[in-house]
């Protein structure tokens, strides 16, 4: 498992590996929205939590198809499937690698971008916390989606279609937590739910992913 993780991270860092791109994409989406909705600070403050979370979600989404597709195309996946490493473990590792290359940097950078949408001062902490709790879920759920679509060439768009609905609960609780934080309301419930989703996803989805992979390799 360690070998696979190290390899994936190394691949991520190599040229074209796309490390940090998720971050840049996050930044860009956050910048785009004001161009769409206009510059009024009041409006932006109001929608900031939602937009930040949606942007984070999209950034995670766009990097999903890398998770398995490359390994599938060059045959590594078939070889991994016939290797002693159980596919479930592979799925977990892949999700982990994805989070480290996407979710983590994104979480750390989010507060910095908050002020572009003049996010309410009290909300910054909750933004950080909710993303830290929520992004791992995005990676695991996404890994499952990637496993489902790995057979299809360039299934990127289909992948997003399958995954986005699965992301909705995470998004709702995440954004809600930040919004409540901004308004100084209690944020316990959404935070707990986020943690719950992440834990549950980690516990169960890898099996689903592995099953999907086996089918796609037939």
């Amino acid at each position: 498992m360690k070998a696979l993780l190290i390899r994936d991270l190394r691949l991520g860092l190599r040229a074209g590996g796309g490390f940090g791109l998720g971050l840049a994409f996050f930044l860009i989406v956050v910048v785009l929205v004001p161009f769409g909705v206009g510059p009024e600070a009041a409006v932006l403050t109001r929608i900031a939590p939602g937009i930040l979370w949606v942007a984070a979600l999209l950034a995670a989404l766009l990097s999903l198809d890398r998770i398995f597709a490359l390994d599938f195309e060059d045959g590594s996946l078939a070889l991994l499937a016939t290797s002693p490493l159980p596919l479930e473990a592979a799925a977990v590792v892949k999700a982990l690698a994805h989070w480290i290359t996407t979710g983590l940097p994104l979480t750390l950078a989010a507060p910095g971008l908050g002020f572009l949408l003049n996010l309410a001062p009290d909300a910054y902490f909750y933004l950080l916390a909710s993303l830290a709790l929520g992004t791992p879920a995005l990676s695991i759920i996404g890994t499952f989606g990637a496993a489902l679509t790995v057979g299809l060439r360039r299934g990127g768009l289909l992948l997003s279609l399958l995954v986005l609905p699965l992301y909705i609960p995470t998004l709702i609780f995440g954004a809600e937590a930040v919004r409540r934080g901004a308004d100084g309301l209690a944020t316990a419930t959404p935070m707990v739910m986020l943690a719950g989703i992440t834990a549950g996803a980690f516990a169960l989805l890898p099996f689903a992913s592995a099953a999907a992979l086996r089918v796609n390799l037939r």
């Binding site: 360690k2 070998a3 696979l4 390899r7 190394r10 691949l11 190599r14 040229a15 074209g16 590996g17 390994d71 195309e73 060059d74 045959g75 590594s76 996946l77 078939a78 070889l79 991994l80 499937a81 016939t82 290797s83 002693p84 490493l85 390799l217 037939r218």
Partner: protein
């Protein structure tokens, strides 16, 4: 440790492809699968390797002793030759024997990114993987594609003197002559008839 296959039938895309295939390969022996394009060599090998379930029949070899090498050889273009091999070695919990580089003429290319290799060099790297993972039962699908004569000999030597000599087993689908003195099995007689049973479409026929 012997590979036993009894009355194996395999399907592809819902259609039965090969039916009633039986053979046995003893330790230290190799078997060469022959047959025209499209007869079903790849399908059989994938089934033997456990990537797809057989329609019927039994495949029998010890758990976790087999490895499969396909048309695509799982080489990572942005990793160097060494990194590629080390990765696979680690996955199988072993170390890279220094001898493989020589055995597959990769010495000069160790530090090169795999993406910059020529077709044959890439193939050699893909095959070198087999020398690293130390599996006893190998299922090889056209291993010598785009190798020059010299490299083909090199690979045959590896199989004979390193793999088989150590009591390994190899089932090889190929169209060329490897120069191994191994029995050949032509799949043509086992081609499934359109009327053959089996295949996931059967229920609808």
């Amino acid at each position: 440790m012997t590979l036993r296959v009894q009355s194996l039938s395999v399907e592809r895309g819902g259609q039965p492809v090969i039916a009633g295939l039986s053979f046995e390969v003893a330790p230290g022996a190799a078997l060469i699968l022959r047959g025209p394009n499209g007869i079903g060599k790849t399908t059989v090998l994938r089934t033997l390797a456990g990537l797809q379930p057989p329609v019927s029949g039994t495949i029998d070899y010890p758990e976790d002793t087999a490895a499969y090498a396909s048309h695509a050889d799982g080489v990572k273009p942005t990793l160097t030759v060494t990194e590629n091999l080390t990765f696979w070695a680690q996955v199988y919990g072993r170390a890279v024997p220094g001898s493989v580089y020589a055995a597959f003429d990769l010495d000069a290319l160790r530090g090169r990114e795999a993406g910059t290799l020529s077709a044959g060099q890439k193939r050699r790297l893909g095959l070198a993987r087999l020398g690293v993972i130390g599996r006893a039962v190998l299922f090889l699908d056209e291993p010598t594609v785009s190798l020059d004569r010299f490299s083909v000999q090199m690979f045959a030597t590896f199989l004979r003197d390193t793999h088989l000599a150590a009591g390994g087993i190899a089932v090889i689908a190929t169209h060329i002559d490897l120069g191994l003195d191994a029995p050949e099995l032509d799949l043509t007689p086992f081609r499934a008839l359109a009327t053959d049973r089996g295949g996931s479409d059967e229920a609808f026929l």
